[in-house]
């Protein structure tokens, strides 16, 4: 069993607080930390207090352990305590391998990408390659279906996990790619997803396992990160979601629609652009800076102006009655994982309770999917 001392220490929660919320005396908790065997009741109360499952004290597979180590390596030493999301992501990776049908192991389709220097040109070329390979060579249209493209064509397991302090994360473990996105404003999630794809294509050539974490507000920044890999992932995301040709065509039509007279692009054109391509105002504005359609610093200036005068770009869009944003669907569970789980439950290779833990679905929900599979 993973020691209770480890779990308490990793949680970053004080023993007094755990004692209060679990109803177990501080002395008894100290006994557990010294190695005493709790009853299942006591373990359950501790798990509740730490907002964990009882199995979190137990299951620590090799894969999960490796993923945990790789995620922790991406952060400075003084920041690795109390970061529950690392455990959550690692656990999800470990569970996924239990559920996946390993006889149908996918070969990651990343060999067509090449990233050497993390330059803008490389981001642009790789984004075009992505569209050519996975979007029927469509180098113009919005990519609102990127989540399903990632799952179906990129053979990547995409999870939407609620983690307040993280925008997203990605990893390649044992040859399987994973992307985690936190639930937020859908356009922001779409950009984070594209950002994580940027990380995956930039790292795949190392042929080693890797993991990367993007803490809150690290993706889609108005001011590019000084870290090359982060700046590359953001640039790649911009190139992928807002392709040069598509932006050109869209802007021409938008300017005709709004009767734009000035040579320069204003907030209204950008708000339209952001809605068409399913990204935030900030992402559209930064992309226009990259394409020299806005002067350097123009994105920040326009964003600050809209925030000051209207509260936010979205409020400004509502005030001028722009059409509503198109819906962007993020599946709750990767279909490949779900189908594999249902087959394994039927064959007695995994139990429905374990699959429920792995898929973060209730047992009743898995049965509902089984109904759809059967009929």
């Amino acid at each position: 069993m993973k020691t209770i001392a480890d779990r308490i220490s990793e949680s970053g929660i004080r023993i007094e607080k755990i004692s209060k919320s679990s109803g177990i005396s501080k002395d008894r908790i100290l006994e557990f930390m010294a190695g005493a065997d709790p009853s299942l009741y006591e373990l359950r109360k501790l798990a509740d207090a730490l907002k964990m499952n009882v199995s979190d004290f137990v299951v620590d597979s090799g894969v999960r352990h490796r993923a945990n180590f790789l995620f922790r390596q991406t952060l400075p030493r003084n920041r690795v305590q109390g970061l529950r999301f690392i455990d959550d992501y690692s656990r999800q990776i470990g569970y996924s391998f239990e559920v996946l049908d390993t006889t149908q192991k996918s070969i990651l389709p990343f060999k067509h990408f090449k990233v050497m220097h993390h330059t803008y040109e490389e981001a642009d070329t790789n984004a075009a390659t992505f569209r050519s390979l996975f979007c029927d060579n469509d180098l113009v249209s919005p990519l609102l279906s990127l989540p399903s493209i990632v799952i179906e064509k990129l053979q990547t397991l995409l999870f939407v996990l609620p983690e307040q302090s993280v925008d997203g994360a990605s990893a390649i473990i044992d040859g399987q790619a994973f992307i985690f996105v936190s639930p937020r404003f859908a356009p922001r999630m779409l950009f984070t997803l594209a950002h994580e794809i940027g990380h995956l294509i930039a790292h795949h050539e190392s042929r080693e396992e890797f993991a990367t974490l993007d803490l809150e507000n690290q993706t889609g920044r108005l001011k590019r990160s000084v870290k090359k890999s982060e700046a590359f992932a953001d640039t790649f995301a911009g190139c992928l979601l807002l392709p040069k040709e598509g932006v050109g065509i869209a802007l021409k039509k938008i300017r005709e629609l709004v009767g734009a007279q000035s040579d320069s692009i204003g907030d209204i054109e950008l708000l339209y652009l952001s809605r068409i391509f399913g990204v935030s105002f900030q992402a559209a504005a930064v992309r226009c800076e990259d394409l020299n359609l806005l002067p350097p610093g123009g994105a920040i200036s326009l964003y600050e102006k809209l925030t000051k005068e209207h509260g936010s770009p979205e409020k400004r869009a509502e005030s001028i009655n722009l059409p509503p944003r198109p819906k962007i669907e993020f599946p709750m569970v990767p279909r490949r994982l779900l189908l594999s789980a249902i087959n394994k439950i039927r064959n007695g290779e995994i139990s429905i309770g374990r699959a429920s833990n792995a898929l973060k679905l209730s047992i009743a929900d898995i049965m509902l999917y089984n109904t759809q599979r059967t009929h």
């Binding site: 065997d37 709790p38 009853s39 299951v59 439950i345 309770g353 699959a355 009743a364 109904t371």
Partner: protein
Amino acid sequence: MINLVNGRVFDNVLTLGSDDFFIGSLSYGECKDPYRTKVDQAIANGSLSLLDDSRVSATRFADLLNQYSLGDGETECLLFTTDLGYSMASDDRKARTIAQSQAGESRVTGSLGLLRKAVRAGKLSQQNAMDAYTKMLESGGFLPGIDVNFFT
């Protein structure tokens, strides 16, 4: 339990009279509505009781979890079966196989076994049981193929 509720026979089975029925705290925690409400009602009317998990060791739970990789509720159920002599009711194929190997076939049953018991006790007709089975399947239950003769 979910299958019995889906088959609209949960109450019939719990009032068989020949057995006492229990649910573990972890299994209870895994129940979502509308199943949770049914369980709460059964606990309130005394036809179902919560198991006392202060009687079992967490280390033993961890050992079983590591060894068999079942879900938390299933492992808890297995623990009470192997260590405290309870019988186990589960429709999960893997959990049943493990429990049968550890406790013997006679101490493991499932929804269909309980339905058959209800038929034999005169609580349900064979056709009632078959109808319940059909409803369970239609609700996504992972159950084996049987015909009405199973309930004789």
